[in-house]
């Protein structure tokens, strides 16, 4: 019995690496510390009532943000481990298998568990407030989305200590990832973790489309909507059309692995290219899903800090929509070398280059907005300017890769690695950080310290160029992606070493950001006005942080930049409070069911990972029961009485 238990444990838990044991100890200690703190301060009830059961878009946004920053840390540690391994030739810091696992988890986590929750955080925090709405269209579904993401990410990250990490790359191409060549639960963790969080992403896409189409304040025509909302609309349209393809790709590969089907196998008539097509039909639009909101953020930030209307509003909207459509027509550029005909490759090459045009329009519009404006040099504008520069150059190397003959030369080399990091870090991450600094006071009621933020900015930015510029050169020199080491006489040593220095500088930048946040929690400048940046859109018309119901009275919108226009006319929402009587406000009820249902999904997923069918069945049964209970629910909302609204506004100094 004991022997069998031992054998089970040695397969179940990941063993053999001192680093893993250290992480095990760290995970146990941190978990114990959290449990102890919550118990000691009697915070369990608070956690359940205020956060786990919440359907408030502002709190869900904050939970997304915390998860995204934690995942940025984990993905970042993965990156540093890889750069440490590659700093010098013939190193044995990581072995080949371990290196495979780390580049797989780095890519997957950064795209799906860092970038996605980061954009969802900002959707949740900004969109309803910008629209003049009291919540999203489906607050209950919004909570489901978050918890599905949370448990999907948890399942994926568990693979680090239980069962073993996936090692098939972040795209997880078959036939390599089929059962004969990739046994063990690692790949199953990938498939189920992504599947569960993917369901949440589709739900978020639907939720925000309906919110934007149906919940705008009276008078806010679509063409009077803030550009960030437009970018969210564009991004969500891409989500609902792209994510089902990922669902199917993951599902079919899972059926291959668990039921012995032959979709993508080399035997039985399977066709691995089918997976690659399905994956990239999602995968390429996915990068637009994460970059479009960053475009929206930039449009808000440049207008606010230049104290000018955005240049070319209509062309901004048009270019967002064009990008969201053309983004479906470029997926095959991820495998020009896989034997498609010249005609097919030309089509996808040209389509990929065409995307550069609307993107260029946006870049010029941002520059023209700043031109002759009085630009205030704050952290959001720092990151905006860094993004415009970095992304423009990243886009140009993208045009190079879109040219099929050049792609044949540099395909899957470090040139590609440098290119997509320049667009995903220089575009998405820089843009999202601009948004984070911009909306931070709205979320928490205080500003982040500028001085520490500038240290973080310069370390991260200079580090970025030191890290990735040498990689373009390495690509030309023939270094391919995913090699875990290289010989000393390849001539790659100095470039690789420089790149590693840059990576560590970015790590230092991240530490500065953490210090900045911790410092500002205690000493940051408090925002008492609700409008710390002299903003232009409606989220700045309410207090920071916004009350539960957002707007005591829904404002009537007449112009673009509604709040700016109100201020020019000497109006404010405080006046509305005096002019109009308070009315009861209709709000959704909190519910623990989204959490419990997602927990059942997690249980089902965990069971399926290890092919424990009974556990999978229990989990799915739990999901079904929670769904029926939801179907039977008839009243899931309540009214905040008018007197309470009045009291709360008075307490905020607005009545």
């Amino acid at each position: 019995m004991l022997d069998r238990l031992k054998e089970f444990a040695s397969n179940f838990f990941v063993t053999g690496e001192p680093m893993i044991y250290m992480s095990d100890v760290a995970i146990v200690l941190v978990s114990l510390a959290i449990i102890f703190t919550l118990t000691y301060f009697k915070k369990w009830k608070w956690l359940w009532r205020e956060w786990i059961t919440t359907v408030d878009h502002k709190r869900i946004g904050i939970m997304y943000l915390i998860s995204a920053l934690l995942m940025l840390f984990r993905g970042g540690v993965d990156a540093l481990l890889m750069r440490t391994q590659l700093a010098l030739p013939n190193q044995h810091f990581l072995d080949a298998q371990h290196y495979n696992e780390i580049f797989t988890t780095h890519g997957t986590i950064m795209i799906l568990f860092m970038a996605m929750p980061f954009i969802f955080a900002l959707f949740n925090i900004a969109v309803p407030l910008q629209l003049g709405a009291r919540d999203v269209a489906f607050p209950y579904l919004n909570a489901i989305s978050f918890w599905m993401f949370f448990f999907g990410a948890l399942l994926f990250n568990l693979s680090f200590v239980i069962g073993g990490s996936p090692d098939g790359g972040w795209m997880s191409y078959p036939p390599l990832t089929e059962l004969p060549t990739d046994p063990g639960p690692g790949e199953n963790f990938y498939l189920l973790g992504l599947q569960i969080s993917g369901i949440g992403s589709i739900a978020t896409g639907i939720n925000f489309i309906v919110t934007i189409l149906k919940m705008r304040a009276p008078g806010m025509k679509l063409m009077k909507m803030p550009l960030f909302c437009w970018s969210v609309l564009a991004s969500c349209i891409v989500i609902i059309f792209a994510f089902p393809a990922l669902t199917i790709a993951l599902l079919l590969l899972m059926i291959d692995r668990m039921a012995g089907a032959h979709f993508f196998t080399m035997t039985g008539g399977g066709n691995p290219m089918m997976y690659i097509n399905l994956f990239w039909v999602w995968g390429h639009p996915e990068v637009y899903i994460v970059i479009l909101p960053a475009f929206g953020i930039l449009s808000e930030v440049v207008a606010t800090f230049s104290r000018k209307k955005i240049f070319g509003y209509a062309s901004m909207v048009a270019s967002l929509m064009v990008i969201s459509i053309v983004s479906y027509l470029v997926w095959a550029h991820h495998y020009f070398v896989m034997g498609a005909s010249a005609g097919v490759n030309s089509f996808f090459g040209v389509a990929s280059m065409i995307i550069g045009i609307p993107t260029g329009v946006k870049i010029f519009n941002w520059i023209f907005t700043m031109f002759r404006g009085r630009v205030r040099m704050t952290l959001p504008i720092y990151w905006t300017m860094a993004m415009i520069t970095c992304f423009a150059f990243g886009g140009m190397t993208g045009i190079m890769l879109a040219a099929v003959p050049i792609d044949y030369q540099v395909h899957n080399s470090y040139f590609l690695i440098a290119h997509f990091h320049q667009t995903l870090i220089g575009g998405v991450v820089f843009g999202l950080l601009a948004g984070l600094y911009y909306w931070w006071p709205k979320m928490f009621g205080f500003k982040l310290n500028e001085r520490l933020g500038k240290w973080a900015f310069w370390f991260f930015n200079i580090g970025f160029y030191v890290c990735f510029m040498p990689q373009y050169a390495l690509g030309f020199m023939g270094m391919t992606r995913r090699v875990y080491t290289y010989p000393a006489d390849a001539g790659w040593t100095s470039m690789n070493f420089t790149s590693t220095i840059g990576a560590y500088m970015m790590g230092v930048g991240f530490i500065f950001m953490v210090v900045q946040i911790l410092y500002s929690i205690k000493y940051g400048e408090r925002d008492l006005t609700g409008d710390p940046w002299d903003g232009r859109t409606l989220e700045w018309s309410v207090p920071s942080p916004a009350p539960e119901y957002n707007f005591a009275h829904i404002p009537e919108v007449e112009e673009r930049d509604a709040w700016w226009e109100m201020k020019q006319k000497g109006q404010s929402l405080v006046q509305l409070n005096h002019q109009k009587p308070f009315e009861p406000i209709h709000m959704p009820n909190n519910s623990g069911r989204p959490f419990i249902m997602s927990l059942f999904f997690f249980i089902a997923g965990f069971g399926l990972v290890f092919n424990w069918w009974w556990m999978g069945a229990v989990g799915l049964l739990g999901v079904a029961v929670t769904m029926v209970l939801r179907s039977q629910e008839r009243h899931d909302s309540h009214y905040i009485p008018a007197e309470e609204v009045q009291r709360s506004e008075a307490a905020l100094g607005r009545f």
């Binding site: 489906f138 089902p244 012995g260 179907s631 039977q632």
Partner: protein, 217 residues
């Protein structure tokens, strides 16, 4: 929308409040009604793409039989899949009759037609299961060839959707029986009927792309 509408909406379409001069059907009269219905239409769009990917996969793998059974040989029992088709199309019709009864504020008929729809749905799922079991006993399983993998997954996914719809519809029938036809139930019934029609349309494509194409190829 205001409380007044929310509370006064327990009635038939004739008592519904006017909106820009138009009388709204009951399911659109609550605050959540129009939101949920639009949201569900968008969900159907995502589901359509999901099925689109499965159809594409099936079409690519249709001829990849690996020396095993082809679609022409597999679909020799024409009566079976024709019966499935007739039953499902009829159930779509009866679910429309249910909505018609709802518009006339006839609770008994509404429940009656929904029950008929559920029974037809169950017979459809039963026939499909019988077909699958038959194939299984003849040794035609998912792991035999890529064609069979594609077939079972595409048709099986549709069958799972129908089964889920049946459970959902039963849950709604119990609520109508308890609370009658009000704005909430009208919204729920309307949405499940959208779902039911959608599954019907998908089946029309399965019938023509999978079965008919197989038989005539």
């Amino acid at each position: 929308m205001s409380t007044a509408i929310h509370k006064s909406s327990h009635g038939s379409v004739h008592e519904s409040p006017k909106y820009k001069g138009k009388v709204l059907p009951l399911e659109y009269t609550s605050h959540e009604g129009p939101l949920n219905i639009l949201g569900f239409w968008i969900f159907l769009a995502t589901d359509l793409i999901l099925f689109g990917c499965l159809f594409a996969t099936y079409f690519v793998l249709r001829t990849h039989v690996d020396g095993g059974v082809t679609d022409k040989e597999l679909f020799d029992n024409i009566t079976s899949f024709t019966a499935e088709t007739v039953i499902l199309l009829t159930s779509s019709f009866t679910s429309s009759l249910a909505i018609f009864a709802m518009r006339n504020n006839n609770k008994k008929r509404l429940i009656g037609w929904l029950i008929v729809t559920v029974i037809l749905g169950l017979s459809f799922v039963g026939l499909e299961l019988r077909e699958f079991i038959e194939y299984y006993h003849e040794g035609y399983t998912m792991s035999r060839s890529a064609f069979l993998s594609g077939f079972f997954t595409l048709v099986g996914t549709h069958g799972c959707h129908v089964s889920l719809g049946i459970i959902w519809m039963i849950s709604i029938i119990t609520q109508i029986a308890r609370y009658g036809i009000d704005a909430i139930n009208a919204r729920k019934t309307f949405i499940i009927s959208l779902y039911w029609h959608f599954l019907d349309i998908v089946w029309v494509f399965i019938f023509s792309v999978v079965y008919l194409t197989g038989v005539v190829s």
